[in-house]
Symmetry: C2
Subunit: 241 residues, 2 copies
Amino acid sequence: MARMQPSGGRAVPTGADEGEKRPSLVDDAYAAMRAAIRDASFAPGYQASEQEIALRLGMSRTPVHEAAIRLQEDGLVRVLPRKGILILALAPDDMREIYDVIIAMEGRAAELVAALPDGERLAAAQALDAHTDTMADAHARGDLPAWGRADGAFHAALIEHARNGRMSRIVQAINDQSHRARMLTLNLRRTLEASVTEHRRIARAVRAGDAVEALDAARQHRIRARDELLPLLDSYGLKHL
Amino acid sequence: MARMQPSGGRAVPTGADEGEKRPSLVDDAYAAMRAAIRDASFAPGYQASEQEIALRLGMSRTPVHEAAIRLQEDGLVRVLPRKGILILALAPDDMREIYDVIIAMEGRAAELVAALPDGERLAAAQALDAHTDTMADAHARGDLPAWGRADGAFHAALIEHARNGRMSRIVQAINDQSHRARMLTLNLRRTLEASVTEHRRIARAVRAGDAVEALDAARQHRIRARDELLPLLDSYGLKHL
DNA sequence: GTATTCAAGCTTGCATGGAAGATGGCGCGC
DNA sequence: GCGCGCCATCTTCCATGCAAGCTTGAATAC
């Protein structure tokens, strides 16, 4: 938890949020704890005391407590009355739930993007292809982290171009929950090429304005990824991530 | 805001939540404010002061403040720094966003339910048909509120049988946001029969275990409802609900 | 040695006070 | 009359105090 500082960075880009306001201590605490959970400085299962976190962040218990409430709402922690903050672990069944949400949301997003008017649609397709190019490059260089970043950027772009703040927020919350699992399983993946191919198919459907094809392409992409990942988790006996 | 009492009722059935704990003051405040917003005791656009709400609920400002944070996370209010709690209104564009989320989630839910093993699947289909029967009865009697309740029960059952806590939570949050709009537009609806027919189609697909058909039926049902509702809102010039 | 009780120390829940920011009205200058 | 600036007031933000609940471990009875 060494790097857990009240980084001045914005709390979280909420998608549909346009009101700019300077971050409060609560925002700082929220961002710091969220980052600490994402990069596993706070390991799942760890039970922290609000007092201790407050001390470390150089603030009182109140903002930490309020940030914990937000994190609980996001599904990242559980606030146990009079016991502390529990960092939640992910079971394989949680991954199943998460994938179903993603399959639903990205499918609809792809459909929506493919139905945009020409200008926006082509811009979106171009952005998607650019990210896929980056993925292909990273794969050729054997740069796995870069591949992961580009893959994330592709899916983020797909959602963002659907212009639906609520979808963006939901997907972001879900991604936060599964971030650790994604990082872990990046090394287990075998079929990186398939992703590139499938991304191309999605981008092509968007470019053509074929909503039905875009929906199916996005769904199949995520369904295949899930069917590849879940057995992997089981075989490795990963009960919690 | 007369009925806004710290009703002893549970805070909110979180779906995947099994930890039973007696409600705290924060839970009371959350439930009371949520109910007040739902039934429009707190009108959209109204700017409340935490102090005033606390006074009315017979507690101090702290639990009200923390409940407000949760409500903000749910998208029901906006906490304006040093200005108060703003009850959010819904613009037609918000309804478009909400419908896209619902179309995505219920479509996937229907698909999942149709893919359940025989026992559960048939039980689900039976439950869906029962709710549809109630709707038909209510329609025959001209009992619009009962029709609305049965319609809500149908869609809630569809989601619940998909056995995905995250989906349940997301859909519940979205339903909270659109509850007022649904109540309002109930009176404007013309095509109640169509809903019954489409519900039957969904239930039939579930019973047959036809996931593809269930997905399409659920999607088309919501798409039609949206295409019927949005123009209605526009024509009535309803800028915020 | 084992089981039971109880107390001390830890934790958060909630109340409250001080401080700082936002707002609206009033008075002053023009 | 009209606009501008200032101040009173209202609001939240955050720190802190107190009380209550849970856990742990030691001491005692057997």
